[in-house]
């Protein structure tokens, strides 16, 4: 009996089948659910897209120079509600050309102009986008023309929503499936109870009890039940056979030994020599038979014992058969027998089997000895090895008397010696049969063409070994890379150098190559950069330009430790990170203006200037919005805070405001007494500079003070993005923030954590008055070509008159 190598569980099979069914069902439902989730995610996210398009269309107009649009900030704000996706828009007229925005956005297939929003998916610059396109007919001098607004978003939020709809749907279904499977499991267990009953019955049973199992099982396992009882019946029969076998062994050996003893006793009693000689000769023959009987009993036991063990090894039959036959031929009794061996029909390597050499040798010995014993002294024995498909056949045939057809079936039974004359033990062929069973081989007995018995042992052939080719993986050794980090920065070197030095000190072996730019140059350089010339980190104080670069898909997402993550306003998409806190401030000459003279809010500032126009004219400083990105950012953000901003610009213009490129110049002018006050300077710089100029004061408003942040991102095509990410992580880490607080004129992101900074105290005095400019697509509004042109025109009109 061979034990099954792997236990198969009926229960598991049924469960697996059911689980398979459920899985198929889930698969089908999941496909449907997936597309439903997509539709739902699109429907939800299409609404803001349509809202933004509507808001933009509403502001389209026909001006003296043709169609134009005053891009509303609300449109971008609506889109920025979605914090994940990048944004693209375009305004054009099919008849009058591009108006503003990105001119090469993809149009839907078969577009027809309509005032109904149309949604479609398209790929733009390698990223999947969802677009809405909507038109509006406007009266123009040439008649009625269409103005079309196209707004698009990347689909990350849609994907995310789709996945979360899908997952919540699937979770429910999975729970349902689990409950279903549990029910199935319970049902199976109940159904299999009769089997356990049979198992219990068999387990409790005494080994000697071979009676049938009583009971009437369910129809489904009737077959098994009958089979078990049938098997028990065969066991009974087998036990009876074994009992007979033992009785036969006892009988045969005892008879043999009694005969031997008898002959010897008679020989001892013999009175004359010839009589004694005859008795002794008989005793000798009897002894020989007893010897053969015990040899074969031992061989039988040995073969059966070895067939139980995993003693099968790959072996070649041919040399084994040759050796065995050569050994047999040494016996002088074999001398007159014509023994021949044929292996010419073997295929190359055709004799390979899994076998036990000792057992096969024993089987072959028995077959040849049988032929020698039962045949004439000059018997011919032919041993042959040949191949049949998938098998190796060992054939032994002889020219002896053979076995009658009718007796062939009985020949392999133990103690069935068919030839009374030669008196075999009746074990020879049953040994061969046992060897065959131990090798998954088949023993076939037939009549030989030589006249005698033909015994064929057919072994399964061992498949030829396939040559295994070793695949050498192209294990490339990464080239030793110089640890150089390339940093492009549009912020003062004085602010960056301590940070770079601290980073290099903490990361020995990394050298930072620092290239300085103006904000707009940096922006242009990155937009034009060829792949492979990208730096590893980009830092700029121009938040809007940085958002624009990231919105174009140039940045790489960074996985920062949760502890280092900046507040929500100072990050976008996990790609762009602000690392400073820089409020706009008013500086003033304390010799000229008292702290109490200064207005406490923006509305009063315009009134204050108008009231003091005479003494302030020509002595107010402000950024030149055309040359300073920060100045433009502060001014545009001011204009979003209310109409007083526009009034302030008008008042400043009337007071002949002087414009500067940078905070340092405004500060110097104030320190020299040339300026009475300067508006929207960078508070952090001013506070640092104020330490050396005691008569320059720093003023914050009570209503709001704009706060901008310097931002950093790692370009998607950076050469050493890992180093870049490490640098950004350092900027945001407590250590990096501490360096910013202690060694640079900048203010760290959370000033309240650095109370020893004088400006931090000023900030803490006005809780809620510091209004951070969010990193979001709404910063794109004032980057719009038309919007920027119009804003600067208005500024020029006020300031340059």
């Amino acid at each position: 009996m061979r034990t099954e190598p792997r236990l198969v569980s009926l229960q598991r099979r049924l469960l697996l089948a059911m689980a398979g069914g459920f899985a198929l069902l889930l698969l089908i439902i999941s496909v449907l659910l997936w597309s439903y989730a997509r539709t739902a995610a699109n429907r939800i996210n299409d609404l803001p897209l349509a809202g933004a398009a509507l808001a933009m269309l509403e502001r389209a107009s026909i001006g003296p120079e043709g169609p134009t649009i005053d891009l509303p900030n609300s449109a971008m704000d609506i889109l920025a509600l979605n914090t994940r996706d990048r944004v693209q828009y375009r305004v054009f007229s099919p008849t009058m050309g591009e108006i503003t925005g990105t001119g090469d956005l993809p149009l839907p297939d078969g577009m027809d102009l309509s005032d109904v929003p149309r949604f479609y998916d398209a790929t733009y610059l390698g990223a999947p986008f969802r677009f809405v396109i909507q038109g509006r007919r406007m009266n123009t001098p040439s008649g009625r023309d269409w103005i079309v607004v196209q707004v698009g978003q990347t689909v990350e939020t849609r994907r995310h929503d789709q996945m979360s709809f899908y997952l919540s749907g699937m979770t429910g279904l999975a729970a349902l499936s689990v409950i279903g499977l549990v029910c199935v499991w319970i049902a199976i267990r109940t159904a299999l109870a009769p089997l356990r009953q049979i198992a219990g019955e068999l387990r409790r049973r005494d080994p000697a009890d071979l009676a049938d199992i009583p009971g009437s099982p369910p129809r489904e396992i009737r077959g098994l039940f009958t089979a078990i009882n049938g098997f028990i019946a065969r066991l009974r029969q087998n036990r009876a056979l074994t009992e007979t076998f033992i009785a036969d062994v006892a009988h045969q050996t005892r008879t043999s030994l009694s005969a031997l003893q008898g002959h010897l006793a008679l020989a001892a009693d013999a009175t004359d020599y010839p009589e004694m000689k005859a008795r002794v000769d008989k005793a000798g023959r009897q002894a020989a038979r007893t010897v053969r009987l015990s040899n074969q009993l031992l061989a039988n036991a040995m073969v059966i014992h070895r067939s139980d063990r995993a003693s099968l090894q790959p072996l070649s039959l041919c040399p084994l058969v040759r050796d065995t036959l050569a050994d047999l031929l040494r016996d002088s009794r074999m001398r007159r027998i014509a023994l021949s061996f044929e292996d010419e029909a073997l295929a190359p390597e055709g004799d390979r089997i899994r076998g036990d050499a000792l057992s096969i040798r024993e089987a072959l010995n028995n077959l040849v000895e049988n032929a020698a014993r039962h045949g004439p002294a000059d018997n011919s024995i032919l041993v042959a090895l040949e191949n049949t498909p998938g098998r190796v056949v060992l054939r032994v045939e002889d020219a002896g008397p053979g076995i009658a057809e009718a007796d062939l079936a009985r020949a392999t039974e133990r103690f069935t010696s068919l030839a009374a004359a030669t008196r075999g033990s009746g074990l020879g062929l049953s040994i061969v049969q046992a060897v065959a069973e131990g090798h998954d081989a088949v023993l076939r007995l037939s009549r030989s063409r030589l006249g005698g018995l033909c015994a064929e042992l057919s072994f399964p052939r061992l498949a030829a070994l396939m040559a295994v080719l070793l695949c050498w993986g192209a294990g490339e050794v990464p080239a030793a890379r110089a640890e150089a980090l390339s940093l492009f920065s549009a912020t003062d070197a004085a602010a960056m150098e301590p940070l770079i030095a601290a980073f290099e000190a903490r990361n020995p072996g990394i050298e930072v190559a620092f290239t300085e730019f103006h904000t707009v140059d940096l922006y242009k350089r990155l937009r034009a950069a060829a792949p492979g010339t990208m730096p590893d980190v980009v830092i700029s104080s121009a938040m809007d330009l940085q958002v624009d670069l990231v919105n174009r898909g140039l940045a790489r997402r960074l996985a920062l430790p949760a502890t280092h993550r900046p507040p929500d306003w100072a990050q976008w998409r996990g790609e762009l990170f602000g690392f400073t806190f820089e409020p706009a401030a008013v500086i003033y000459d304390t010799r000229f203006l008292g702290a109490h003279d200064l207005p406490s809010n923006h509305r009063d500032l315009a009134q204050f200037i108008r009231d003091n126009e005479a003494r302030l004219t020509g002595r107010i400083g402000s950024y030149d919005l055309r040359s300073s990105g920060i100045g433009y950012l502060y001014a545009t953000q001011d204009s979003l805070q209310g109409p007083q901003a526009q009034r302030l610009i008008e008042v400043l213009g009337r007071a002949r405001v002087r414009t500067y490129c940078c905070t340092a110049d405004m500060f110097a002018a104030t320190a020299r007494g040339e300026l009475a006050l300067a508006h929207n300077v960078i508070g952090s710089y001013a506070a640092t500079l104020a330490r050396g100029a005691p008569h320059v004061g720093l003023h914050f408003f009570d209503d709001y003070n704009l706060v901008m942040t310097r931002t950093a991102f790692v370009p998607r095509d950076a050469r050493a993005p890992d180093l870049g990410a490490r640098f950004v992580e350092f900027l945001l880490s407590p250590a990096g923030q501490e360096v910013i607080a202690a060694h640079t004129p900048l203010i760290p992101l959370a000033p309240e954590r650095h109370p020893d900074l004088p400006i931090a105290r000023r900030i803490a005095e006005r809780p809620g008055a510091f209004l951070a400019i969010r990193l979001s697509p709404s910063l794109l509004t004032y980057l719009d070509r038309l919007k920027q042109r119009d804003f600067l025109r208005a500024w020029d009109a006020s300031v340059l008159r």
Partner: protein, 234 residues
């Protein structure tokens, strides 16, 4: 009592066997055949004796007190003692056989041994041995002089050619042992001669015809090879 095929030249034999009854029967049987037989029951003692005394044949049991039969045999072969040895073993495992023959045994038999078979094997070994020692091999009417390279049948030259003499010598040296056609060819021809196996077959046919009537029989087992034995001894 005359035993069939009593060998004309008595041998000096050593039986190493620890079972008293079996040893007694073997010794008595061999003595009855006219040999002078010594007996040892301890492996170590047998080994000591073999170092000093010389025998024509040793019957060696495997399971012995003192030293095992294999160790005794290995010690003999290690000191270039090429006395023929027949191993007697009660185990029928193939390993014993391989170890026995590898250790340098000339033959082996599995107990219980048939005494006639034992005598026959002894005679075969004695002949091999006798042939090389005295340079004259005799079997009934056939005698072969190794040194003179001459075969005589009934005293007259058998008229063997040089190759046939060579083949006869090979077969006498391997009496009772199966030689494949390839093995014979290897010993018969030098590396350069590249004989056909057909030529070997024809040579055997001729030699067999010329030896016809003598007790030396060359048996052919087709597909296996050739085996020479002396027939009048059974």
């Amino acid at each position: 009592m005359p035993h069939p095929g009593t060998y004309d030249a008595a041998m000096r034999m050593l039986v190493v066997e620890d079972n008293e009854d079996l040893a007694e029967t073997i010794v008595d049987r061999l003595r009855a055949e006219g040999h002078s037989v010594d007996r040892e029951s301890d492996g170590a003692e047998a080994s000591a004796l073999l170092r000093h005394a010389s025998f024509d044949l040793v019957l060696l049991d495997v399971n012995l007190p003192g030293r095992s039969g294999y160790e005794v045999l290995r010690a003999m072969r290690a000191r270039d003692d090429d006395t023929p040895v027949i191993i007697l073993t009660a185990r029928s495992q193939i390993d014993d056989r391989v170890i026995g023959l590898d250790a340098g045994a000339d033959d082996y038999m599995i107990k219980p041994v048939d005494f006639r078979e034992l005598s026959a094997r002894c005679r075969v070994l004695a002949r091999r041995r006798a042939g090389t020692a005295t340079n004259v091999f005799t079997a009934g009417s056939l005698s072969f002089d190794r040194r003179g390279k001459r075969a005589l049948i009934d005293g007259a030259d058998a008229g063997l050619k040089a190759r046939e003499i060579q083949l006869l010598e090979i077969m006498i040296d391997n009496l009772g042992r199966m030689l494949s056609k390839e093995e014979v060819a290897d010993r018969l021809y030098t590396f350069d001669e590249t004989p056909s196996l057909n030529a070997v077959e024809q040579l055997f046919t001729r030699l067999r015809r010329k030896l016809d009537g003598t007790p030396l029989v060359i048996k052919t087992a087709r597909g296996l090879g050739y085996l020479a034995y002396v027939s009048d001894e059974d």
